[in-house]
Symmetry: C2
Subunit: 387 residues, 2 copies
């Protein structure tokens, strides 16, 4: 007899993107890491931490970090919670705000849009709570009746990643404000801003006191903008009532002494990290333009990745739908490469990109923006494939 609960027995764990452990040189554009190294003040803070700070328990609530983050984001420290990566914030929010399913009712739970970050429904299943899923429009914008559907299902937390993953599309602030207002008193709006450092807009106005909202929670992470995916440090910014509830339920010492000083240094010196954001944005625009020129469809992205559709058949109907179709890099005789075969071809050439075996995504690839040299290698490999 298994000892675990039924929902855990039934659970399919989240599959992280491949992390090659081999020493072979791999161009890794599959998990949206920043291609530039962490800034030097972060590494210095880590190396300078005295052994004594590891011997003792860390600050349970990461108070020093919270003060710095509060100052940076113009909120108060009780509006900040530090977490063991953004993942912990997501799990905490779901376990604190979502009612588990009962034999009587499957109301409540999380609301998501489809497609979105595939971890959300996994966390809901682990908490044994419902998932209400609403499809996005074809251009990955929100459907007009989203709020209505979520309210009808009685969701406890609506999860929106903004900029959107895997497309990079940005939901306008005004729209999010309207959603939060409509959900107020009934549900929490969790806006996952993992990729916000590469976008032209953030949602801070919704959590600042002047917003009048008490149900908005923003997720931030050090993994992307600050090149610290290996550190596991994220944080939430939200109204104090939401933060206090999660603060009670988090593990007593959920962030460690090293990540606390590293994350504090990252925010203190964010103007240095911003150099990498500018370079990534520049390369994103370049890749968008280079791939578009090669007849790929590139969804407009405000993030550090692009979602792309390989060129259609040179003379087929799909080609004419997509553009002029008069010229293409594809050879006429070979079978047209699909997203999956291109993924495999690139992998064989030591370039990892992300292929999702999910409804609506099987014709697409998500490519993380790399350094200029890494991006050159992607384009060269594709040109070789299509020549």
């Amino acid at each position: 007899m298994p000892y675990e609960r039924n929902n855990i027995q039934a659970l399919s764990a989240y599959t992280p993107g491949e992390q090659p452990q081999s020493t072979q040189r791999v161009i890794k554009l599959n998990t949206n890491e920043n291609p530039y190294p962490p800034i030097e003040p972060v590494m210095e803070a880590i190396r300078a931490l005295p052994a004594e700070s590891l011997r003792k328990y860390p600050s349970p609530a990461a108070m020093n970090f919270r003060k710095i983050a509060a100052q940076v984001h113009e909120v108060s420290p009780d509006q900040i919670i530090a977490t063991n990566g953004g993942d912990e914030l997501l799990r905490l929010a779901i376990s604190v705000f979502c009612e588990p399913r009962t034999s009587q009712s499957s109301r409540g739970g999380i609301g998501v849009v489809e497609p979105s970050y595939s971890l959300y429904p996994v966390l809901a299943a682990a908490h044994d709570t419902s998932v209400t899923s609403v499809p996005l429009n074809a251009d990955y914008s929100l459907p007009d009746d989203l709020e209505q559907k979520m309210l009808a299902a009685g969701v406890n937390v609506l999860l929106l990643v903004n900029p959107h993953a895997p497309s990079g599309a940005l939901i306008p602030l005004r729209r999010l404000d309207r959603i939060a207002s409509q959900l107020q008193g009934k549900a929490v709006l969790l806006i996952d801003e993992a990729y916000v450092d590469f976008a032209t807009q953030d949602c801070l106005p919704l959590v600042q006191k002047s917003s009048g909202l008490d149900n908005v929670l923003l997720l931030r992470t050090m993994s992307k903008g600050y090149s610290l995916a290996g550190l596991r440090f994220g944080y939430g910014i939200g109204s104090a009532n939401l933060i206090a509830a999660m603060d009670k339920a988090r593990d007593s010492y959920n962030t460690d002494a090293l990540s606390q000083v590293a994350a504090a240094a990252a925010l203190d010196y964010r103007h240095l990290a911003a150099h990498s954001w500018a370079k990534v944005i520049q390369q994103r625009e370049r890749m968008t333009s280079e791939l578009s020129r090669r007849k790929w469809h590139v969804f407009p992205s405000q993030s550090n990745f692009i979602l792309v559709i390989p060129p259609p058949k040179p003379d087929g109907e799909s080609a004419s739908r997509r553009g002029t179709g008069t010229e293409t890099a594809l050879s006429g005789d070979a079978k047209t490469p699909t997203a999956k075969t291109i993924y495999e071809y690139l992998k064989a050439h030591n370039i990892l990109v992300r292929y999702f075996d999910h409804e609506g995504l099987r014709d697409k690839l998500r490519i993380t923006i790399g350094t200029p040299e890494e991006n050159d290698a992607v384009l060269a490999a594709l040109d070789e494939l299509h020549s």
Copy 2:
């Protein structure tokens, strides 16, 4: 209207021991940290970690650490799970194995003994699951009918800290084997070995394949024996079925790159850490003997702390119960200091020990074993109080 669930609204969060952030010199004997610094190979592993390892996501399942731990403990890597401190292992076990309360039934949940680590019932409350509590004998040994009571309540996980906290008492392996056998097929036995490095016995035989048990899970931590409370790294050793269930439900990247290399170095060089264990044990015996000589009652401890009862009134009945009572350091005219007043007195002298405002513990103090100099200071302060 609050957004959080009712059980979270009702939750009283765990109160960690005080962590003075001031720069003033404090002798900190209240949270059972190891008084000696982390070993040098650990600090070197942290400082040597390349920036590139922070830029990328860490090994999701801490594979290198698991292999090392498996080798050290003579189990297979699929019997090890790495966690963000021992706290995460406790929370994971409860959320994976314990059925939440329903309107129909409050069966299931965790079983604990009283007194014990006060975090256990807090984690149960956060998961909205029941707590079955059975009082220990006066000498902190297990009552004979423990298994029977736990089975009658239908607990899903029985939590025993061994050596026991806050007393330091050790449950014999044979007894734990019997409990596990009786619970097999019905409940998980989680043995919290946070303090095992200071004891004469561990419970590894119960998780090695020859035991024939499939329901035992050991908790280990780097916080105590390895002087790494600030690192937040723990791990579980158990039968592969239990580990696999928790592995599915943990956060996808629950341990970071720094703590993975540090914990691996700690285990690789554990013979160096063992020097601190020997010194702590020696000082524990010394403090036991010094305080006993001063008419304190000291419970026999196999841990890095001692639970003590201050001397009774010089001529009262409690004195005669406790020993010869012919001499005492207490002045006859002053009010006899209670555990609480001694705690406050020591705190005023910059010595922190732990006072628990709990039934059965209000007459006692828990004192972490410090360096010889720190222990000298405790004895000197107590002698001054009682002179």
